[in-house]
Symmetry: C2
Subunit: 411 residues, 2 copies
């Protein structure tokens, strides 16, 4: 199998993750000794670096630096949400020719895989020989063909740890604690709030996912039920919850104008409005129902910290670095194109493998939390989700519990 001789470019698109550097560093490690690869360019700010001919020389970086960068959250190659139009694609193919770029590796989510697919079609239409690969990435875990995506496990580890701590905190005073997690259309990250539960009474006691329509009255009754039982309730809510008409709950509850990005996505992160509005609702509900005179109720929003907290899941890191290497190996092995994906072999012991899947099978599609991971009541996850998710996080610190049955006898 002969492969073209030329330069390679790597770039990253969309929201960063705690391990996204590991994906492109993996590609660089996989390419650097191949005689076919003349230069390895890091395009800055995703495809914008190609359009602006703004490349950092990755061959010139020493391996120690690259390895340190691979352990650093967010992307050292910077990012963009620019969705290329036909003119951009024509321009990029011309620039590939100008720089003799024959290999393209883009790490990103489903918007990125769609952009790459169109870029590939443009190159083919122009008769330019290009080897083009998408390397899966997204904290949301919403890519088809992947058991899970690089970045998800580290974000899930953070979410699970945040809820473990918040649940212990909520026990101290009782009352309500609600926390909003990322995940516009897919509930994987919100579901991860359940992965740190240690006892049957551990929170989150209720989990609301974007895969199920959200009914504000039922939500209030659910919380009331848990509060009656435990005197407290910890609630995990996806930022993307919508009512039965498909209207985002944030939009229902808020009169503020909402911002949309160039892919038409409404801004749901970077605001505490949903948590605040839901907590207000619950407070009013429980106080009006006479459950409590003055309810202690708090709402938080995990926000951007959850996708970039410097605590990589060791499983995520190793798999992501390996996925980058795999994409490089595919290219050098003669594959013309594809999306590098992670598949699961077994839950216990946890084992996974890499697979190159067609770009079009990932491009622009959204994967959702499977039905058997969602509790039939629509307000929790199932044991099947826990079995699936738990191995991805790596070790969590152990929590101790006092034996509360050992009481001092009253005198």
């Amino acid at each position: 199998m002969t492969v073209p001789k030329g330069n390679a470019v790597v770039f990253t698109q969309g929201g960063p993750t705690a391990v996204i550097n590991a994906s492109w560093v993996g590609v660089v490690l996989g390419l650097k000794d191949a005689p076919e690869i003349t230069g390895i360019y890091g395009s800055l700010h995703g495809i914008d670096g190609i359009l602006n001919e703004d490349f950092v020389d990755l061959r010139a970086q020493d391996e120690k630096t690259l390895m340190a960068v691979s352990k650093t959250p967010a992307t050292a190659l910077l990012s963009t949400r620019h969705k290329p139009d036909a003119e951009d694609n024509r321009k990029m193919v011309a620039l590939f020719q100008k720089y003799n770029i024959r290999y393209v590796f883009g790490a990103g989510g489903n918007d990125t895989s769609e952009s790459l697919d169109i870029m590939n079609d443009s190159a083919k239409a122009g008769g330019y020989e290009l080897r083009l690969f998408h390397v899966a990435k997204t904290v949301d875990n919403d890519l088809m063909e992947n058991d899970h995506t690089p970045g998800y496990a580290s974000a899930a580890r953070y979410v699970a740890n945040a809820f473990r701590g918040a649940d212990m905190d909520n026990r101290c005073f009782g009352g309500l604690y609600l926390c909003v997690c990322m995940g516009r259309h897919a509930g994987f990250l919100t579901a991860a709030s359940a992965l740190g539960r240690t006892t049957p009474e551990s929170g989150p006691h209720l989990i609301y996912l974007p895969e199920r329509s959200f009914d504000i009255d039922r939500f209030c009754m659910d919380v009331e039920g848990v509060y009656k039982k435990y005197g407290r309730c910890v609630i995990s809510v996806s930022e993307g919850i919508e009512d039965a008409d498909g209207v985002p709950i944030l939009q229902r509850l808020s009169s503020d104008k909402l911002e949309a990005d160039s892919h038409g996505n409404v801004q749901l992160s970077g605001t505490g409005a949903l948590a605040d509005a839901l907590v207000d609702k619950l407070k009013t509900h429980l106080e009006e129902r006479g459950m409590v005179e003055k309810l202690r109720a708090r709402g938080d929003t995990l926000g951007y910290i959850q996708r970039s907290f410097p605590d990589q899941s060791p499983v995520d890191y190793e798999e992501t670095l390996g996925l980058g290497r795999f994409a490089a190996a595919c290219a050098l092995g003669g594959e013309p194109e594809g999306s590098a994906a992670i598949r699961r072999i077994s839950d216990s012991p946890y084992r996974s493998e890499y697979k190159l899947v067609p770009l079009k099978s990932v491009a622009g599609k959204t994967r959702h939390l499977p039905d058997d991971h969602i509790h039939p009541a629509g307000n929790d996850v199932t044991e099947a989700f826990i079995r699936w998710g738990r191995p991805l996080l790596g070790e969590l610190s152990l929590f101790g519990e006092l034996d509360m049955n050992k009481r001092v006898a009253k005198k």
Copy 2:
């Protein structure tokens, strides 16, 4: 020195921390082999457990359990914000007599030390021999007589890590990122956002502390200056910022009714309103100034996660366990009362020691960030703060940086 023979009670009050269990476990470890100590009771929900005679038997817990609990965030003895009145104090002294409780150890902040001081006066007035100790605790680090308080270093570690990740994330797209930290009257936790900076260009670029009055126009101009220079700006803001008239900025910017606790403290945590309002201001300002057509601006609020995240600073853990042991040793050594505090011996190498200080020197007072830790411009910390704070956090993961001077030459 003879000390009375009797039971000991330990309890925790106020907001939990990541290491508060270590303080009372330290007390238990320090007391458990003393022949003077008959039983060791854990009062549940702070002083409410005394008033309700609701005690868990801590002698009956095995040491392995206690050590596991000491590494678990928030308090296994649960908490309260109940401030005892004169009647409560009379009742508690009667109950101490009924249960032959001769030793009291309360871990808490300045509200707790004040309650303990009054409780002590009540016991003395009633002629009841009691040995009563306050064990410093608070993420806010606002206790007099302490170099720093148990719980602060772990919360500061979280805040520093959150900003390290958020700063790398903000680099990817540019624009503004603002994040609100806990600390009603003391800026120590907000200041900790600076402890993870790695380069002169690292965020947070601006830090607003409750020790300095907050001027919204100057704030907008500060941010504009940083944005002009870097095309981005990461901003750390204390939840407690007030204007020159002493009015909380959240109150200035919000029409919502604000909740107050039984100590008269307004609820500043558990809402994303301040971050959202400040981000709106900045967006409008920079867009109206023609700096950018549509500014990417995001606001987060660290909320409750920062005080209970399961990632103890190793320095905090060891010091806190030791402080509890020290309080127990003071009691067994014949000290009648006091507050167990942490003092610093040196910054580098970092060394600290414990000291028993008078209850009244801590009770009800608030310590602030010293002037030499605050930049004269009022929008940052100083190197003196960094030198003081950095040793408390323990090791942080290393971040790698690409050499961005190694560019591919344009063709």
